[in-house]
Amino acid sequence: MSEPILIAQDLVKTFGEIHAVRGISLRVARGEVFGLLGPNGAGKTTTISMLTGLLEPTSGSVTVDGLDLKTHTNQVKAKLGLVPQELALYPTLSARQNLNFFGRIYGLRGKELRQRVDEVLHMIGLADRADDAIEDYSGGMKRRVNIGAGLLHKPEVLFLDEPTVGVDPQSRNAIFESVEALNRAGMSVIYTTHYMEEAQRLCHRVAIVDEGELIALDTPTALIRSLGGGILIIGVAEGRAEDVMDPVAQLPTVKSATRSDSQLKIETHRLQEALIGVLDITNQLDVPITSIEMLEPNLESVFLHLTGKKLRE
């Protein structure tokens, strides 16, 4: 990994009795797209809030480009760009007025401000609608302005917090392309999402967060490879899972198996061979099958493997 631009050390955040983040440490390399993957409520947004100086950690530290966030708050903040999950814009103002404002609060003035606003308007493809009020835009256009507002001051690290929530497929692709283009231009990006396919497509490395803890951190390829073949989820008649559990666990292609009353979760080296073996056993024991789900190795199945639950539960 090249020189880190951002280092978080043992970040902890508690709200009264609630432990939102429990000791997260991570390093983001210069020019890296770093994914923060986890279900809703996992602590991603709290982590982002601490990394961007919005929330003071209960303990732990953040340094950006060698500067401590606590002691050099404004210097660090000037290096960061935040694109919140919400459409954090002023709907009655135009895109140009919004961008002018966000540029000014990052210290841009005069000609430099006008140039950057024009550049960003072109970048997000809204130069011809720049003077229309935001409230008259489509959802996708608003998302693009939302991202543009975080880019005006050319941040060294851009935080994108669930940027594709509620976005149509076309706009989602446009956002992916924007992120890839910004990264090609050398910007480091920290991208939070609960869509594993986004993390898989965009991120050089992914940190998987659950219940405030970092449970895995590696490249998507390495994380998937760690899982092996994949996961089979077999639904059976109520109370019959116990009958097939032992023979299934003894199949040579099965790494491990767990069960509930009506479901078997089987980790396997080879998905198709394992499925054939399971079907043979259920036929022999006359156990009715209610559903079959085959999870190819991906970040979703990695998450399931690590936490026992799905990303979107």
Binding site: L54, K77, P84, Y90
Partner: protein, 413 residues
Amino acid sequence: MKALSIAFKDLQIFFKDPGAVFLLVLLPLVFVVVFTGALGAIGKGEEDARIPLPVVDLDGGQSAQTLLGKIDAAGGVRVEPYAQAEAMALLDEDEIDRVLIIPADFTAGIASGQPATLRLVNHPDADAKQAEAVRLVVDGVANDMALEIQIFAALQQMGEMQAGMPESSQAFAVERMQAQARSQFERAQTQPLVAVAQREPAQEAEQEESLGLGDIAVPGITVLFVFMVAQNTARSIYDEKKVGSFRRLLAAPMSKATLLGGKMLPGFITGLIQIAVIFAFGIVGLRLLGLTPATLGNDPLATGLVVLLLALCSSAFGILIAALARTEGQIGGLGTLLVWVMGLLGGSLIPLFILERILGPVPMVVPHYWANRALIDLMVRGRGLADVMVEMAALLGFTVLFFAIGLWRFEFD
């Protein structure tokens, strides 16, 4: 600079909202017109605006009654009969400002042409201007009455002369009548039949005239509506938090104080714009409508300082509402409740002298009271900066208090 950027953006948003502009800038003008015109007599109407004149009538005769009737009808002074002991006791206790004493032999004396002296006793702390006004009325009525009696007596004397000399036409000569009248008039000037002896007040005291709603309309409505801007400030902060732009502002390289300052500034500027519009309308618009216009008073600089403090206090109040209210409904409810209750309690809609009479010192707990007192003193009573220092200090105190509590309770996260 960043605070100014936030303020500029908020003002852009404000002026794109016609409803907010109407509510905060134009609606006050409607209130000013209604209060100055249709409701202008309220406050004055309830009170007899004439200066009260307690009277001890030791004579009780016809001339004394005639004198009192004429004083009461002269305008500006209201006769209130008292027993002597009661009047003197009340005067000692400063419950009344003056008492007019009619001597026991008043009617008999002037009937026989003997001079009589009315005694007008003022309390040492009585308002000198009021004392002078009362003296002029009593003097004028007494002189007119004495002259009337003396001229009538002269004419009666001429009639008697004519009766004693029926053959002489000399008694009816115009020259003779004119000479007699002139003689009586000169005598009335040098030896008045009814004189007024006055004990002067020692010093000029607090002016306690009762002002009607019409007199306080411009300052009262200004104070009421400037504090309504506080609700706007709170709502703007709530909206920023709701859409997430507040997180974006917190992520920017600026301090929380700059951020809060930037959110206060538009309220301050909007307040000053409101005040400028209401004052301009009060001075020019009311005159054009044929109503009594407002003035900036004898010390416009002091008026300017008070309105700066008023706008500042209102914007600090906005931060307080934003800190205390958790939902949009709470901002609306709490804001409306506080602004209207405080406005009512602080004398924006009811003259202060009525509130003070009913509630005693209670109105002092709201900033509106101090702002209204200062503006009424400056704009209506024509007083100066030195006279409103206490009111200005109170407004500054409220500003600091609101901001401190707001900052303490404000949730940035």
